[in-house]
């Protein structure tokens, strides 16, 4: 049987990859994908802990995270489309009107 710590390490690594790509990537869609990656890393961690504690509470949490992530994706993609219509670009370096 695979020990719980393996899943936790995988979760932590995925979370860190998510943070890194959030900071490095310049395309808004890719940045959005890296947030989803972070959320899924959290889900993996929750499931691993739920298994460790022998409870379902952690797995139920995952369902809620998935539902909320879907709602967030709906709003997020709509905002991205609204931005693209006005600016014709999805590069974060060119979305820089708001400055002092």
């Amino acid at each position: 049987m695979v020990p719980t710590s393996y899943y936790l390490i995988l979760g932590a690594v995925l979370f860190c990859i998510g943070i890194a790509s959030f900071l490095i990537r310049r395309n808004i869609i890719t940045i959005f994908m890296s947030i989803e990656l972070m959320l899924n890393a959290v889900n993996l961690t929750f499931v691993a802990f739920a298994h460790m504690w022998g409870q379902v509470a952690g797995q139920i949490f995952v369902f809620f995270v998935m539902v909320v992530a879907a709602a967030e994706a709906a709003v997020g993609l709509a905002i991205i489309i609204a931005l693209f219509r006005v600016r014709q670009t999805l590069n974060v370096d060119q979305v820089n009107l708001l400055k002092n």
Binding site: T4, I28, G54
Partner: protein, 496 residues
């Protein structure tokens, strides 16, 4: 009425009104004014405030209410925040009733989204289960993401919205990872069992990491430095009444979650998180105030000021449990009154198109709009913390709590920062009361202040003044508000 329904009464009222507004919005023909929907929303927020009052009577008579398997806890603490959020929403709605210059077809959604956001914020403050906190946080965040970009078609609006959305979701991921780790360390996501589980946990390091992650996540939401980078951009691009709302109500809710989580959930780790809170507080105060010094855009200036005020609020957390709750509650109330008021004045002056933006535009405003200038000046003086305004007593209360608990240097940093803050508030104030230049506000057409907006302005001004002159009433209320933890049962590990 069942306990479950009673515990959710303010949220239920807001949800039903919000859904009604959404349903009625397409029924009203295009081109017609959406004002009736605004009045409906105002009625809803009034009723939800009354519902919170009703809850207060019940709680005073019967003690704390718990509902939905102890995931919702209605105590004076949550009722205080329910009332505060309902009041902020009410004032914001009154102020934005005439905000839309031409009848925009989707204006009804604006009112509904404000109500839905308030539902999420109320859930955050009354929930003692981190799952419910998370859902409340997301309901409030998703509504405000949309509201931030409401002037769509304008490049700055969608930019503000996307920045808020990306960084907000990023912060949520941190919050969630913190919750996952605390679940791993204690076997529960409820505040009470977390406290009990921490006493017997075998992985204290993971618990500390978890608290740090939750702090990062909520630090983003309250725009505490170093997680504040989104604040100036988002506030600059968002409509002024929305900024008034989102710089106060969601922050109050996030601070309520922090108070519950840190003092009731993780008191065992007090020695660890107090250090993080101190770092966040000092960084927010210094970066907020120093950043504001070189701003020209008034909304950006107030954004930096709101970062600094998040720092003052975090100072309250260094007091004892009772002092921290009382100080933070009092400060959120005064901050809400004066900041919503300041942004209401801005929205009334510059309107939907926001032609008046920079400090230079405000030069000579007092000649043209003496009343509005006096109001804005009053709110700015309160933000500085001049005596006889709510801002003064709020700061006094927060810092005395920190000093009593031996955080002298934090008090000194805070007071030095208040001095620095004088410069930029007074720079704006001086501009308002100086001779107008050719391109300044004096040559821009006057927008008439309508009756609902006047009521909203008067309410915020009276609240700011009242909290400065007669703070005792609220102090008595907030000193009783310290939340207790419900009976907690630690989960025994059943590790394979």
């Amino acid at each position: 009425m069942s306990t479950n329904l009673l515990a959710l009464l303010p949220e239920l009222v807001l949800t039903i009104t919000g859904v009604l507004v959404m349903v009625l919005e397409p029924v009203i023909p295009a081109g017609k004014s959406r004002k009736p929907l605004g009045w409906l929303a105002i009625l809803g927020s009034l009723l939800s405030g009354l519902a919170a009052f009703y809850q207060l009577q019940i709680v005073n008579a019967q003690g704390t209410l718990t509902a939905f398997y102890s995931t919702i806890q209605i105590d004076p603490f949550s009722i205080f925040f329910h009332l505060l959020i309902a009041a902020v929403v009410l004032v914001t709605l009154l102020g934005s009733l005439d905000y839309f210059e031409s009848p925009i077809t989707h204006a009804g959604e604006y009112f509904a989204l404000v109500l839905f956001g308030a539902v999420g914020m109320m859930f955050m403050t009354s929930s003692v289960e981190l799952l419910m906190v998370f859902i409340g946080l997301e309901i409030s965040s998703i509504s405000t993401y949309i509201l931030a970009g409401f002037r769509k078609g304008r490049a700055t609006a969608s930019e503000s919205s996307i920045k808020y959305f990306l960084l907000g979701s990023f912060a949520t991921a941190f919050f969630l990872y913190g919750v996952a780790l605390i679940y791993g360390a204690t076997g529960s996501t409820s505040i009470g069992p977390i406290a009990a589980g921490l006493a017997i946990t075998r992985t204290p390091t993971m618990a500390i990491l978890a608290v740090a992650m939750v702090l990062i996540g909520l630090g983003f939401k309250v725009s505490a430095a170093p997680f504040h980078v989104w604040t100036p951009d988002v506030y600059q691009g968002a409509p002024a009444p929305v900024v008034g709302l989102m710089s106060t109500a969601p922050k109050a809710a996030a601070f309520a979650v922090l108070l519950r989580f840190l003092f009731n959930g993780t008191p065992m780790l007090h020695g660890h998180w107090i250090l993080l809170i101190e770092i966040l507080a000092v960084a927010s105060m210094c970066l907020g105030n120093l950043g504001a010094l070189k701003q020209h855009d008034v909304k950006r200036l107030l954004a930096y000021s709101s970062i600094a005020h998040a720092g003052y609020l975090l100072v309250a957390f260094t007091g004892t449990h009772q002092n921290a709750v009382a100080g933070a509650c009092f400060y959120t109330a005064t901050y809400a009154a004066m900041n919503v008021g300041a942004f209401l004045v801005l929205s009334q002056l510059s309107g939907f198109s926001e032609r008046i933006r920079s400090i230079e535009d405000f030069t000579g405003l007092a000649l043209k709009r003496p009343g509005m200038s006096a109001l804005l000046g009053f709110f700015l003086l309160s933000l500085i913390g001049i005596p006889f305004t709510g801002g003064f007593f709020g700061k006094f209360y927060v810092f005395s709590g920190a000093l009593q608990n031996g955080h002298v240097w934090l008090g000194i940093v805070g007071l030095a920062n208040s001095g620095v803050a004088c410069f930029y508030y007074l720079r704006l104030l001086a501009a308002i009361y100086s001779r107008p230049t050719s391109d300044s506000v004096a040559y821009i057409p006057v927008r008439k202040v309508t009756a609902p907006a006047a009521v909203a302005l008067a309410a915020t001004a009276l609240a700011t003044l009242g909290l400065g002159i007669l703070p005792n009433k609220l102090v008595h209320l907030v000193e009783r508000a310290t939340p207790t933890t419900t009976a907690a049962v630690a989960v025994q590990p059943t590790q394979q």
